[in-house]
Structures are given as structure tokens and as C-alpha cells.
């Protein structure tokens, strides 16, 4: 689900990044207040764990791969705000160190995997557990006093399987909603950003292709991978270290009861925000029906940024043959020199790469 660089237009990246800023600010503030200070390094541990979870690649149909994100799991253990920060950090490391996901697309990736996924996953989990858990969580000190040897210290009299089912469904829904957001981000690219000839400038697949291509493998496989992963680790943690839980943390915090009321509201807001791209989808098709003139206008608007530096007139297109030739004619020398530089550089790179195994043979170190 990592969106690489240049699949999304810079404008979309900027919009998604701007959308993430209030979320991050909220998460940082909330974490600061909610998380006991001694749990601060746990954020780093959670991020490291999320990073490792995301490397868990499973081959999916259609040549793509899916991976567990672990966002819901971290939200269950450390709270959705901490999960947002932890997954964001993991995504940043992946983008910078491994080139997995774009640096400019960081905002979009965070929106899908660090915002939609943990908040929705956690919200669904809370909704499914309902009030029942709220009551038992008030009685938490009693459960905790039973010690770690007790297999289910939280449930009190309620069934032990319920939290796991809730965690399973929560992580499944969370991941799929995140995948849907990702698909919509891909899908609106060819609608909004194309050259005058109607060819997509960024991701070439529209919603009709992007949504099934993303959703089918996620609904069929990746969602279950995420859910099984979440439940397996969640079960182990609840059994062996019941202290390590967000509910427990909230119960320990002084204003715990007050906070719980907001969580369903939060889930609702998260779902609404996640649904926003769907609204955009509707308007997107409406745009398409306006007619060619308006589309051309929008397109040239979007492209004006790219063209002003070169001093060319707006509306000029790369794939219309005539202006293209004109461009070639105008800057032939420059293009030629640049091509020569690229060619020479490529040759040097290739020969250096060839030299690696040879050096290794001569010099075993």
C-alpha cells in the first residue's frame, strides 16, 4: 500500500500532507497528555515493531504484494494516537532508508496507514466491545490484582473470545478502508491530471481500475493477513503481559472515564474523513461531464506550474507531435549535450557495477 514517488501528482501530495498536519498535531498533544512519561520510549519500540511488521510481505494476485501494517495492533496496545505517531515514523524510515514509499507521498501514505488504519481499526474494536468493556475496564484494578498468571484478567465475567473477534474485525475493516483510500488517491489522478491529449500524467489507472485492483486482493488476502497477525500477537500479549494495553493505560490515567466518551465520536469522524474522497469521486465524474473545454482548463491550470519556468505557453502538450518537434528543434544542442552526459554517466556506472564481482574475486575482503 506504499505509494511511491510520482504516482500521485505533487498537488495531491501537498493536499494529503496538509490533511495530516492537524492529525499529527493532535496525536502529539494527545500522546503527551495520555501516555505516562515512562512509556515514552515505548513509542519508539512500537514504531520499530510496526516497521518490522510492514516488512512481512505476502505475494498477492495481480503481481502486487500486501503486508500487515500492524496499525490496529499498535492502536490496541498503545492507543490510536501513539499508533499514528509510531506508524508515521516507521513510514518515514521506510521512505528515507529503503526508498519504500515516496518522500513527497509521505503525507498520503501517512493518511492511509497512520491515520485511517489505526483510528478506524481501534474505533471498530471499541464499538464492537461496546459498553460492556467500559464497565469491566472500570473494574480493572481488580483484574490487575489477579496478576499476570491469569489468562484473561480484563473480561471479568464476559466471554474471553470477544475482544479477539473485535480485534479481528477491527483490523480487517481498518486495513480495507485504508486500501480504499489508497485506491481512490490513485484513481483520481488520471481524472484530474492529464495533458491536453488526455493522457495521464501520473498514475494511469482511473477509479474503475484502481479500486478493484486494490480492493480485491486486500479484501481477499491482505485483510485476513492483517487480522490474523493482529489477533495472534494481541492474544499472546494479553496472555503473557496484560499490563501492556491501551485500556489499562487509560485506566491508570487520572481522567480516564472522561476520555472514553469521545472514542465513538472519534471513530465516526475518522470514518467521515475517510469517506471524503468518495465525495470527491462523485464530483470527479461530474467534472468529467462538463465537457472538454473545462477539462482542458483544469488541465492547463495544473500544468501551468510545470511550464512557467520554461517560458512556454500554457496548453502546450508533450504528446502532440507538432509542438514536440518544435521543442526538439529549439533545444536540440542542449538535449544532445544532456543525452551525452547521461550516456557517459550510465556507461561508467555499468562498468563500475561489473567491476564489483571481479574485485571480489581478486580481493576476498
Amino acid at each position: 500500500m506504499h505509494i511511491p514517488e510520482n504516482y500521485l501528482s505533487p498537488v495531491s501530495c501537498a493536499v494529503m500532507g496538509a490533511a495530516m498536519i492537524p492529525v499529527w498535531v493532535h496525536a502529539v498533544k494527545k500522546t503527551d497528555r495520555e501516555l505516562p512519561k515512562e512509556k515514552l520510549p515505548l513509542l519508539g519500540a512500537g514504531a520499530a515493531f510496526s516497521f518490522l511488521a510492514m516488512m512481512f510481505n505476502v505475494p498477492l494476485v495481480g503481481g502486487t504484494t500486501g503486508h500487515a501494517v500492524g496499525g490496529t495492533l499498535i492502536a490496541l496496545l498503545f492507543g490510536p494516537n501513539a499508533a499514528c505517531l509510531a506508524v508515521s515514523v516507521a513510514l518515514l524510515l521506510q521512505a528515507v532508508i529503503f526508498g519504500d514509499g515516496g518522500v513527497l507521498a509521505f503525507g498520503a501514505n501517512c493518511f492511509n496507514m497512520a491515520f485511517v488504519l489505526p483510528y478506524v481499526g481501534y474505533g471498530v474494536y471499541r464499538l464492537l466491545l461496546g459498553k460492556q468493556n467500559g464497565r469491566t475496564s472500570d473494574a480493572r484494578p481488580y483484574g490487575a490484582s489477579l496478576g499476570t498468571s491469569d489468562a484473561r484478567p480484563y473480561e471479568g465475567g464476559t466471554g474471553g473470545i470477544r475482544p479477539y473477534v473485535a480485534a479481528f474485525i477491527g483490523s480487517y475493516v481498518g486495513l480495507n478502508l485504508a486500501a480504499l483510500c489508497c485506491a481512490v488517491e490513485f484513481g483520481i489522478q488520471p481524472m484530474l491530471f492529464k495533458d491536453a491529449a488526455g493522457n495521464a500524467l501520473y498514475c494511469p489507472y482511473d477509479l474503475g481500475v484502481a479500486i478493484p485492483a486494490m480492493m480485491i486482493p486486500h479484501l481477499a488476502v491482505a485483510g485476513f493477513v492483517e487480522a490474523v497477525f493482529t489477533v495472534a500477537v494481541f492474544a499472546l500479549v494479553r496472555k503473557t503481559a496484560p499490563d501492556l494495553s491501551y485500556e489499562r493505560m487509560l485506566a491508570d490515567a487520572p481522567e480516564a472515564g472522561k476520555k472514553k466518551k469521545y472514542i465513538p465520536v472519534f471513530a465516526l469522524i475518522a470514518v467521515l474523513i475517510a469517506a471524503c474522497p468518495l465525495g470527491l469521486l462523485a464530483t470527479g465524474t461530474a467534472w468529467g461531464e462538463w465537457g472538454a473545454d473545462e477539462i482542458a482548463e483544469i488541465v492547463t491550470d495544473g500544468k501551468a506550474l510545470g511550464y512557467t519556468p520554461s517560458g512556454l505557453e500554457s496548453g502546450w502538450s508533450l504528446d502532440v507531435p507538432m509542438p514536440d518537434y518544435a521543442l526538439e528543434g529549439m533545444n536540440e544542442t542542449l538535449a544532445y549535450i544532456l543525452s551525452a552526459v547521461i550516456g557517459v554517466a550510465l556507461l561508467i556506472i555499468i562498468f563500475k557495477l561489473i567491476s564489483i564481482p571481479m574485485k571480489g574475486r581478486r580481493n576476498p575482503s
Partner: protein, 236 residues
């Protein structure tokens, strides 16, 4: 006197164990962690990291915005020109993720090119841009030490808690990755023959890792308090 059975050559081939991708993924993880550990990143060019970071961002934005092919060609010439000055091993480390990303993009875009040949030119531009972007990022990463990157982020007024988590995460990844590799090695040594409970062991391995993570974080906190941590993080 050596008994006869000791002289016999044993022919034991463990049964083929299919579907071990989970375990293999975890092993690959260990390899990646090793890569972080050796990430020394000699500082190239002597530019301060903040400037390098800003330069990288500017480069990425320019590349993403550029539709003029001449400009793209110029960026390509610049990046490849700098690249060819690097020693061979660094070169490979920089190019590997970039080639991987470009290849994946090519595979993803092939159907689109087939369906709509008129748009193929633009698709090629995107593939080239993906390659150049990833090259620039991994170049930056290779030539800059990580702690300088986080210090640069701190200077750019990124919240302290974020930078703090970033720094800790990298250290934990190495520590926990080592733990995962150890756990898997131990598991592999104990599991002889066909293993029907691979998926169960994956949950166990990651669960234990998580518990160890919480333990480590508590120890870190204690160490921080002992050293007089005052809620303000300035970078390592």
C-alpha cells in the same frame, strides 16, 4: 576401535518444507536490519545536513512538478553524473532500491501502456521519475549519517517527540531485528523435519519481540531518568 555404524556415511535429507514464506520473510528482515547497522554514510560534499535535506526536498519537488522533458533530462544528467563519481559498492547500494522501484513501476504500468499506447510516453516519464526520485533519496541516505539527519530535522522545528521517537526507532529496529534473527535461528535448530505449525510460531516470534520491546523501552526510560532527562530532546 571405531564401531562400524560410526563409519557409515549418513544420507539424511530433510523433507521439503513448503510454504515457509513467513519464516523467509522474517529472515529477509534480519538481512535488512544488518543493512541499517552497517549504514555508516560517509558525509559527501561537506554540505551541512540541513542544506542537504532541503536540497533533496527541492530536487524531489522539482522532479515531481517538471513536465518539460528537457528539464527532466537535465535532472537525470545531474543525478547520473554525480552517481558515476561514486565508488562501485556505494553505487550498487544506491542503485538497488531505485532499480527495484523502477522495475515494479514498469510492471504496474505495462497494462496501461498496452491499453492506451498514446499515453505510453507519459508512463515512461513516470517510470523515469520514480527511478530518479528513489536514486536521490538513497543517495542522500548513503551520504548522510542518520543522527545528522535527525539533528537536521530538529533544526527544522520538527517536534521533539517526533525526532526522539525517530532516533529510538532506528536503534530498536536493530536490537529487535537481532532478537528476531536469534529467535528464528533457535526455532529452526529445534524444529527438525516437517513443521506444521509455522504460522503459529510467527505469532510467537513477533509477540515475544513486542514484549522484549516493552522491556527495552522501560530500561531506556530508567536510563534516561538516571541521566537527568528533562522532557526536551535535542537529538543525539
Amino acid at each position: 576401535m571405531i564401531p562400524g555404524w560410526m563409519k557409515q556415511t549418513e544420507q539424511y535429507a530433510p523433507p521439503r518444507d513448503g510454504g515457509a514464506f513467513a519464516i523467509r520473510t522474517l529472515r529477509a528482515m534480519g538481512g535488512v536490519l544488518a543493512r541499517i547497522r552497517v549504514q555508516r554514510g560517509r558525509d559527501g560534499l561537506g554540505i551541512p545536513p540541513v542544506a542537504k535535506l532541503l536540497l533533496l526536498l527541492a530536487g524531489l519537488v522539482t522532479l515531481a512538478l517538471a513536465q518539460n522533458r528537457l528539464l527532466l533530462l537535465a535532472i537525470a544528467a545531474l543525478v547520473l553524473g554525480y552517481l558515476c563519481l561514486l565508488p562501485a559498492r556505494t553505487l550498487w547500494a544506491v542503485l538497488r532500491p531505485a532499480l527495484g522501484a523502477a522495475l515494479l513501476t514498469l510492471l504496474l504500468f505495462l497494462p496501461a501502456m498496452y491499453i492506451r499506447p498514446a499515453g505510453a510516453g507519459n508512463n515512461w516519464v513516470v517510470i523515469g521519475k520514480v527511478f530518479l526520485s528513489v536514486t536521490m533519496v538513497s543517495l542522500f541516505n548513503q551520504r548522510t549519517q542518520w543522527n545528522r539527519i535527525t539533528a537536521a530535522l530538529r533544526k527544522l522545528r520538527v517536534p521533539g517527540i517526533f525526532v526522539f521517537v525517530l532516533d529510538l526507532t532506528l536503534k530498536y529496529i536493530v536490537l529487535l531485528g537481532g532478537l528476531i534473527v536469534d529467535l528464528l535461528t533457535a526455532r529452526g535448530l529445534r524444529a527438525v523435519g516437517r513443521d506444521r505449525h509455522k504460522y503459529r510460531s510467527v505469532g510467537g516470534v513477533l509477540g515475544v519481540t513486542l514484549l522484549r520491546a516493552s522491556e527495552l523501552s522501560r530500561e531506556t526510560w530508567e536510563a534516561m531518568v538516571c541521566r537527568g532527562f528533562t522532557d526536551d530532546y535535542k537529538g543525539l
